[in-house]
């Protein structure tokens, strides 16, 4: 604390605080401000996408059509997916990176602060454009978040053009964010912090950022091809003109599979900070964590066709993609093993962040196992496009990515706000969420195996009971997020004062600065503590 004040005073050009009024948020280049804006934006999108999910579950509460038209139902599934993937999960991770990466590596700010401002402020416009399609003639995009051609070209509503430009803008924002994070981590580390002393959240984000730079342009490319097919008479995906709709799926999933790791690798990083803190032991197998993350990232480029087992791949292709996909279980297994080994014989306590982290480890692993089942090409013909797939990716994304984000938020909230969390309310949020999420998504395994297809507003009677259970769970889970909102606001407004090292076992440079973190931290590079993790 005292070292920090002296460094601030000694720095001639240091600003002493944020600007006043709305201008602070519009023109800020401060990584903490931008991080907060990312996180609030992501929370807003989480609630919008969540309302869409609840509308979907309400319609599926009973067989038959009760609430919405089938066309609108399709718009809801599409928008729910797009908003949750691009609006909630990805910006939340970028927000956490903005807040924590400079503080973890002892940098005063991100490497490119003005670009940082720009990459955030593109997002509200992109999503305003995307959400506005709901009010257009012909409705919002209704072709699923994977927007397969020709559903998204020949048969798309006119609003598809707005969707394409929104995706372009999100892509530009993500690429700029990724460039910024790479530049920060590679160039701004405090002296003595070698790559193998880098905190794991930074490592996983560094690898994620490279994935983003590699695949977001491919996404931009594929929507550009759609745009040209729709408006300029090309035939990339039109068989009559010599194109091929299957090509769309190849290009899309070349983006799409690394994308799912973009949504989970930073979560691995967060969990790798929280478990050692509350187990009061250094992380088991740091180096193997780094190599496992890198292996997952590299393998993610070689498995895309496992989403397409049923399009008519040759046998060699089915075998290659099946085994390559299963191979990913090895580095993922290394990670789960390391987390469990970290906890082994640790002095564990179960504060809210730890509860979410533990639920992550267990439930993400369940999602991983159903992924292994889907990877088996011959049986995938039964599972393909059923609720089993829905159960699988919701297990890895909701109690996976989303729980990790919530764990991270609860873990770092004392650092951001200077107040400790109300543990009772935190635990209440955790338990209701944990129970709700399992009631929602576990029955989907069963109805999927029984053959219920995804993306349908009505279903056969034999699926009725499990759908009703899933819908009840969805409302429990959805409403419990209001507790999350309450917790965050309460923690911002007050609470027991947090110390610099808010959690007893926490280690890392971010815990060396005061809580709440001053507006400017590490104006001069800090000395690395003796026992870095």
């Amino acid at each position: 604390m005292s070292t920090l004040e002296t460094t601030l005073e000694s720095h001639e050009h240091a600003h002493h605080g944020p600007a006043k009024g709305i201008g602070r948020w519009l023109f800020t280049t401060n990584h903490k401000d931008i991080g907060s804006m990312y996180l609030w934006f992501s929370l807003l999108m989480f609630f919008i996408g969540g309302c869409m999910a609840l509308l979907i579950r309400a319609e599926l509460f009973q067989p038959g059509l009760q609430l919405v038209e089938p066309g609108f139902f399709n718009q809801m599934t599409t928008m729910h997916g797009l908003i949750m993937v691009f609006g909630a999960v990805m910006p939340a991770f970028v927000g956490l990176a903005n807040w924590m990466v400079p503080m973890m590596i002892g940098a005063p700010d991100m490497a490119l602060p003005r670009m940082n401002n720009w990459s955030f402020w593109i997002l509200p416009f992109a999503f305003a454009m995307l959400v506005s399609t709901l009010f257009m003639d012909g409705g919002a995009p209704n072709f699923g978040w994977t927007f397969y051609a020709p559903l998204s070209t020949t048969y798309a509503p006119p609003s598809v053009t707005y969707f394409i430009f929104a995706v372009h803008m999100m892509g530009i924002s993500s690429i700029m964010g990724a460039i910024n994070i790479i530049a920060t981590i590679l160039n701004m580390r405090t002296p003595g912090m070698t790559m193998m002393k880098l905190p794991l959240f930074c490592w996983t984000w560094l690898i994620t950022a490279f994935l983003l730079i590699a695949v977001m342009p491919v996404l931009a490319g594929v929507v550009t091809m759609m745009l040209m097919d729709i408006h300029f008479g090309t035939s990339f995906f039109n068989a009559a003109g010599g194109g091929d709709p299957v090509l769309f799926q190849h290009v899309f999933w070349f983006f799409g599979h690394p994308e799912v790791y973009i949504m989970i690798l930073p979560a691995f990083g967060i969990i790798s900070h929280i478990i050692p803190t509350f187990a009061r032991k250094p992380l088991f197998g740091y180096a193997s964590m780094v190599y496992a993350t890198a292996s997952i990232a590299i393998l993610s480029f070689l498995v895309w066709a496992h989403h397409m087992f049923t399009v008519g791949l040759p046998l060699v292709g089915e075998l290659f993609f099946m085994f390559a996909t299963m191979l990913i279980a090895v580095p993922t297994g290394v990670k789960v093993f390391n987390w469990v080994a970290t906890m082994f014989r640790g002095s564990m306590t179960f504060e809210t962040p730890m509860l979410f982290a533990l639920a992550f480890v267990v439930l993400f692993t369940i999602g991983g196992f159903s992924g292994l089942m889907l990877a088996i090409a011959p049986v995938d013909f039964q599972y393909h496009d059923t609720y089993f797939v829905v159960a699988h990716f919701h297990y890895v994304l909701v109690p996976g990515a989303v729980f990790a984000i919530m764990a991270g938020v609860y873990y770092w909230l004392p650092k951001w706000t200077g107040h400790m969390l109300n543990e009772t309310m935190g635990k209440l949020h955790f338990w209701i969420s944990f129970i709700g999420v399992n009631i929602t998504f576990f029955p989907m395994h069963f109805i999927g195996l029984a053959g219920m297809p995804r993306r349908i507003p009505d279903y056969a009677l034999q699926f009725a009971d499990f759908n009703m259970v899933a819908s009840i769970g969805a409302f429990i889970f959805g409403l419990s997020q209001l507790i999350f909102l309450w917790n965050v606001i309460a923690c911002v407004r007050g609470g027991r004062r947090a110390e610099a090292r808010a959690w007893e076992g926490a280690e890392g440079l971010e815990w060396e600065v005061a809580s709440p973190a001053p507006y400017h931290t590490f104006a001069t590079p800090p000395k690395l503590p003796e026992t870095p993790r």
């Binding site: 790479i182 590679l186 009559a240 008519g312 040759p314 292709g317």
Partner: protein, 187 residues
């Protein structure tokens, strides 16, 4: 200052990387076609034009099934003259497909071929095929469209029958709006 120079250099490289990946997305299109051509994986046939026929291999017989498919919303009638043709590898065979336009307007169609099993695609040589060009039919007009093909003698032993399917697409809207001459025939 050096950190700014470092940042700038790194950003330049990363932006270049992003631009290259954008290009790579588009490069996947021809790469995909090349991959399919080399391996014959999606049943696309590229063996077109004249071939040298040095006598049929009478020791083997191959059954070729011909299938005509309408794409969604295509009102034409479209049928093969022969449903099944028995042939020998290396033997030139001629057959035809019939198409008729029952509507009251001029329409243009394009037939897209596909071969199953995909493995056999590269051994089917089409000497002359109606799918090489677009078919324009006036209201009520009908046409018999020729197909001349040879099965390569290198056809693997285990393939005793193969299916050649044509899907007929209505491309009248595209053709009337775009200049017809610009339409590339990639097949």
């Amino acid at each position: 200052m050096s950190i700014h120079a470092d940042n700038r250099r790194l950003v330049r490289r990363l932006v270049l990387g992003a631009v290259l990946m954008f290009g790579f997305g588009f490069a996947l299109v021809p790469l995909y076609d090349v991959f399919c051509e080399v391996t014959g994986l999606n049943g696309k046939i590229t063996n077109t034009g004249p071939v040298v026929v040095d006598g049929p291999d009478r020791s083997r017989q191959v059954k070729v099934r011909l299938i005509a498919v309408h794409n969604e919303g295509m009102p034409w009638t479209f049928d093969p003259t022969d449903n099944v043709i028995e042939t020998h590898p290396g033997e030139m065979k001629q057959t035809s497909f019939r198409a008729a336009n029952p509507t009251g307007r001029r329409m243009v169609a394009q037939a897209i071929p596909s071969v199953a099993p995909a493995e056999a695609a590269q051994y089917l040589h089409k000497v002359n095929c109606f799918c090489f060009e677009q078919q324009a039919l006036l209201a009520g007009e009908s046409i018999e469209m020729p197909l001349l093909f040879v099965i390569d003698k290198k056809l693997p032993e285990h393939i005793r029958s193969l299916t050649l399917s044509y899907t007929l697409f209505d491309i009248s809207p595209e053709v009337s709006t775009a200049a017809m001459a610009e339409k590339e025939q990639s097949l």
